[in-house]
Symmetry: C2
Subunit: 168 residues, 2 copies
């Protein structure tokens, strides 16, 4: 067992030993879904004030709405959420490269078969943070599988300060 | 501003007021990435023992590895993570429907254009929890864009008890 697996096992045993919320319902109690980045410096529950059982939390590289679409549709249509909160963040890795760079790194690290496998993959980098939030909101609002009744807002989290501000 | 947005704003202000970790590096300090479900009953940082700055956390409906692939490649190849922890969970919504059900609900709720938009979408439901963990691990191990050197393990989190157990 790796040190990381050992850490998960030990820390989880401690968490479970005082766990008292085993009767929460499957659908989010506050009927919302948060889409944010996988970045290691973000703890959505703490930073965005999400209590256990209240909201779905979708995370991926960049807090990308296209990547999150399957999950958002399931959240909204099958599990009853009606509000979408999209949060990207300062100093995001997605601001630092372009598709050609990423494909080059994969091929250099893993060889030509890997390079071939990602030759058509859009890694979804973006050059402008606030514009990327706005673009993702427009993408969701324009998608026929997202309800026109859904409340959608866009935010930026600052990894330097812990502060979140609304931008769309 | 909606009640949910107001909650985010107020809770975040409180979080930021005592925030002291603004100097963490972008790449995860412990070089691992966790893939888990968007389920509202999971707090990965607390339940899996992830300290701020230590790991990428990818979340989607079902903790699906295919959906997470773009993010995993970015995490591994561009941001230096070398270990993947995949955690699915008991009572997952993905155990409760099939693609035809989901497509039918979308069409019923949002109309024929929406139904058409998801007619080819694989919602990635699964009928067997532990098998789904194993299948996703095999998917990652077989993918040319995932390093053969990466350490990959599979786990089940029990929403009823807060306990996590390794299954692959």
């Amino acid at each position: 067992m790796s040190a990381i697996q050992q850490n998960l096992k030990e820390r989880n045993a401690k968490y479970a030993s005082s766990f008292t919320q085993g009767d929460l319902a499957l659908p989010p109690a506050k009927k919302y879904v948060v889409v944010t980045c996988m970045d290691a410096r973000i703890d959505p529950a703490a930073a965005y004030g999400i209590d256990l059982g209240d909201a779905h939390v979708i995370r991926n590289a960049g807090g990308n709405a296209k990547d999150a679409l399957r999950s958002i549709i399931i959240s909204n249509q099958l599990l009853g959420t009606t509000e979408i909160i999209l949060v990207k963040h300062t100093d995001c890795g997605m601001l630092t490269f372009q598709n050609a760079d990423a494909r080059g790194v994969v091929e250099k690290n893993l060889g030509s078969e890997a390079g071939q496998a990602v030759s058509n993959l859009d890694f979804q980098p973006f050059p402008d943070l606030e514009q990327a939030v706005k673009d993702d909101l427009e993408f969701l609002k324009a998608n026929p599988a997202v309800s026109k009744q859904a409340t959608v807002s866009g935010w930026v989290y600052e990894v330097e300060t812990g502060k979140t501000r609304q931008v769309a």
